[in-house]
């Protein structure tokens, strides 16, 4: 792998981030404004004067295009503005408080899912079409198909309410409160990774270079670890980019059921409340996270797969 190639590739990708983000911001900005109703519509109609004062305070009285450019200017200086709904906090503060929570949960869940999912997947691949393989894949299928809003309440009921081993929800950075949400988040991902891993491992094990390795008399352990693992894990890695982005930016369902102050609820709450700045803030933030993670995945890919070279113009 050539060093300059990677660097040039990195620079191009980072530059490509800017137009992507610009498109994202523009679409999100106008989409949320198209939705009927505004941040100050509520059951009690505000007196017109108060309404006018509020609009002026948040610049909602300006033409939309002017608001758009004002917003772009703000974002460049790294300021997402005040939240309309949580009036005591700025969007930056809300993201700064929510993201570490979501990132911790999502990161742990991904780690768990990656380790268990790959091991289980490999185990199944090595015993292809055996009873063990079928039962592992059966369980994995269940893991994918049972939604987390079913799993979570069952876990709460069993582990927290009846057994009393762990708290039922809430957040204070203690590990006890992380266990259930991490497990709930990880379950479908474990299942998915296990299936991916099994499939690609089976494919790799049937390829010529593995046959060669075995023909050379290498022990099976070495064949798997040194030769089969790296190419077999590639599909898992490419899945992990967007999956990690989704996990670490929080899950609405998990946050609601376990009452966790993560980032995920802000997408829904922000949109429902027409909290324009909050929605924009989390969307832009999510966009950046996805782009960065996909970039990392690309680099990992190049490292794992010698056939991919970034210095070649393809």
């Amino acid at each position: 792998m050539k060093q300059e190639g990677i660097l040039r590739h990195a620079a191009t990708r980072l530059l490509g981030l800017i137009p992507t983000l610009l498109v994202l911001i523009t679409i999100a900005f106008f989409l949320i404004r198209v939705a009927p109703g505004g941040p100050f519509d509520s059951e009690k109609a505000l007196p017109p004067e108060i309404r006018a004062n509020l609009d002026a305070k948040y610049h909602l009285d300006e033409p939309l295009l002017q608001q758009y450019f004002r917003y772009l200017g703000q974002i460049i200086s790294g300021d997402f503005g005040p939240s309309f709904q949580y009036k005591d906090w700025s969007v930056n503060e809300l993201i700064a408080q929510g993201f570490p929570v979501s990132a911790t949960l999502g990161g742990l869940a991904m780690l768990l899912a990656f380790v268990i999912g790959s091991l289980v997947g490999i185990a199944a691949a090595l015993r292809q079409n055996s009873a063990a393989d079928y039962s592992i894949m059966g369980v994995a299928m269940l893991g994918i198909s049972i939604p987390n809003f079913v799993v979570a309440p069952l876990l709460i009921l069993g582990v927290a309410v009846y057994a009393g081993w762990l708290p039922a929800g809430g957040w204070d950075w203690s590990w006890q409160r992380m266990v259930l949400p991490v497990v709930t988040l990880a379950l479908p991902v474990i299942a998915y990774i296990a299936r991916l891993m099994r499939g690609s491992m089976i494919e790799v094990l049937h390829s010529n270079f593995i046959r060669t390795a075995r023909a050379k008399g290498l022990p099976e352990r070495v064949v798997i670890r040194r030769h089969a693992l790296k190419p077999a894990i590639l599909p898992v890695i490419s899945y992990m980019g967007p999956a990690t982005a989704a996990l670490i930016t929080g899950s609405v369902v998990i946050e609601r059921i376990y009452s966790i102050p993560g980032l995920g609820s802000y997408f829904v709450q922000g949109a429902l409340n027409r909290d324009y700045t909050l929605v924009m803030g989390v969307v832009v933030f999510y966009g950046v996270v996805i782009i960065v993670l996909n970039f990392i995945v690309d680099l990992l890919y190049a490292w794992l797969n010698p056939r991919i070279r970034y210095d070649e113009t393809q």
Partner: protein, 524 residues
């Protein structure tokens, strides 16, 4: 394979938690708060969560006692002068801010003027609209210092009203009428407070911790070492956390769990009438709905409220026959005259009125019933549609809208026909409900306009005591005849409260200040 580590791990976790719970101060009350408060600035707070929390950390001239009745707070006493147009408050000598400064009349004047300053854009300033010049200031015709509030001396405050309002003292217990210290004003993180508690830690959407404020005038009566509020949006989660022993008082109970709770947690379940009613509004600009009073009455009578309240809702709600819910002192709601009949008789009446209305001459009527997304509203809408179909043959199309879209459509009234309505009183007075149907009220989504009704309300505004209540009752009687809204049920408040919590009393306003709570600490 995974059994072994689990066996070791989970009891360990349980043990740690038990120890942790034991070390938590036993005199700390853990309360569910509902959603995260929208703001803890007195002029920005609108939601119930914020208002409830602010009442624990700040206090107005008036506050609430353990049973939710208004009692003197920062004021020691007051006189009502000029036939209810002027109030003179004597502040408590021991009213102090958390930094030790005395609370002065000037602190109230400062706060009120700030509430009416355009830059503050206080959404709840309208609650003080009866204060002299308030309307003109809100409309921008006068400056905030023209507001009818005056510091006579540091311990005496005078407030003038445009119009007598017997419920005015209760408004003074709302955060919008609280005083502000000159330092930090209402910055929720740094400003001095004058309530029973102060915030020690605030993690948005996780917890808000309160400790007693030693400068509070009744600090000696406070039994708790602290209060922790947990914003929990999902009632099912709140229930799980309550059952797991993490909460002492919940904000609500999940829909559909009432019967289960009655059976399994009967000593913890508190269901009590609440100052709110639910109704279906009828848009009177709709040709048929607006033209025919008989049709409106037929629609109202065809609904079996017993089934709606007991079976469809089933959480202690009471069948509603009036706009104003029962329970307001000195007022008996004007209920629909047919409330005493049997449901079969009402349905016969409904059919007769429907025929009289003549709307079905060219085939059955098709109505649209609009409600905002919510499981409860959907169930009610489905039931009502079925009853209309069964009794009258009226076809109903259900339209479900997201909240922001719904409130806008309801206000504009161009597409609405029948719509979900309802109200929770700002203060315990019939006008909190009846004012909604005044001809030019911005909240009148039915576009009902009856000069006789408006006239009765304005005459009531000039009257007092029993005479005033009688005029209001006459006004409400007009509503039961004209039927611009169809009352369905009266709200209830619902909480789970651990039996070891004392100083908690169910009440009509559903206000439970933490300063009265006590814990029996024999559990640990």
């Amino acid at each position: 394979m995974p059994t072994r580590p689990t066996r070791v791990l989970f009891p360990l976790a349980g043990l740690t938690l038990a120890l942790l719970a034991g070390t938590l101060s036993a005199a700390t009350v853990h309360r569910g708060l509902g959603p995260e408060p929208d703001s803890l600035q007195i002029h920005q707070a609108q939601g119930l969560a914020a208002v409830n929390l602010l009442r624990d950390i700040r206090e107005g001239l008036v506050t609430f006692d353990v049973s939710g009745e208004p009692v003197p707070g920062q004021a020691a006493a007051w006189e009502v002068l000029d036939d209810g147009l002027r109030y003179r408050f004597k502040l408590r000598a021991d009213a102090r801010w958390s930094n030790g400064d005395p609370v002065t009349a000037g602190d109230f004047v400062r706060a009120w003027r700030r509430a009416f300053t355009p830059a503050t854009a206080a959404a709840t300033a309208g609650l003080l609209r009866h204060v002299r010049n308030a309307e003109d200031i809100l409309q921008g015709r006068l400056e905030p210092d023209a507001l009818g509030i005056r510091s006579v001396d540091p311990g005496t405050l005078e407030i003038e009203l445009n119009q007598a309002a017997p419920w005015f003292p209760e408004i003074l217990a709302h955060p919008v009428a609280f005083p502000l210290h000159a330092d930090g004003l209402d910055d929720p993180r740094s400003a001095p407070v004058n309530g029973a508690f102060r915030i020690t830690e605030w993690t948005p959407r996780a917890s808000i911790r309160l400790a007693p404020n030693p400068e509070f005038h009744a600090a000696g009566t406070i039994a708790l070492d602290g209060v922790v509020y947990y914003p929990i949006e999902e009632p099912a989660t709140e229930l799980a956390r309550y059952r797991a022993g993490e909460l002492d008082i919940t904000e609500t109970i999940p829909a559909g769990r009432f019967a289960w709770l009655q059976e399994h947690l009967p000593d913890d379940l508190h269901v009590h009438p609440y100052l709110g009613s639910f109704w279906l509004g009828l848009n009177l600009t709709h040709p048929e709905l607006g033209r025919s009073r008989e049709l409106r009455q037929a629609l109202a009578l065809a609904i079996d409220r017993g089934i709606v309240a007991r079976t469809v809702l089933g959480a202690g709600e009471l069948p509603g026959w009036s706009i104003v819910p029962p329970g307001i002192a000195g007022y008996t709601p004007a209920v629909m005259p047919q409330s005493g009949l049997s449901q079969a008789d009402r349905e016969a009446d409904a059919r007769r009125l429907y025929r009289q209305s003549g709307v079905a001459r060219n085939g059955p009527l098709l109505l649209e019933l609009r409600y905002n997304t919510s499981g409860v509203h959907r169930r009610v809408a489905v039931a009502v549609a079925a009853m209309w179909k069964q009794v009258l043959g009226v076809n109903t199309e259900l339209v479900n809208e997201e909240w922001k879209v719904f409130v806008n459509n309801r206000r504009l009234g161009t597409v609405t026909e029948v719509f979900r309505g309802g109200w929770i009183a700002d203060f315990a007075d019939p006008t909190s409900f009846l004012d909604l149907l005044i001809g030019d009220s911005s909240m009148n989504h039915t576009f009902y306009r009856n000069p006789a009704f408006d006239d009765l309300l304005s005459r009531a505004g000039a009257a007092a005591g029993a005479q005033r209540m009688e005029l209001l009752r006459q006004a409400e009687t007009l509503l039961t005849e004209d039927m611009p809204v169809i009352p369905l049920y009266y709200y209830v408040s619902r909480h789970l409260v651990r039996p070891r919590v004392s100083g908690y009393a169910d009440n009509l306003r559903d206000i439970h200040l933490s300063r009265y709570l006590q814990l029996e600490t024999d559990e640990f």
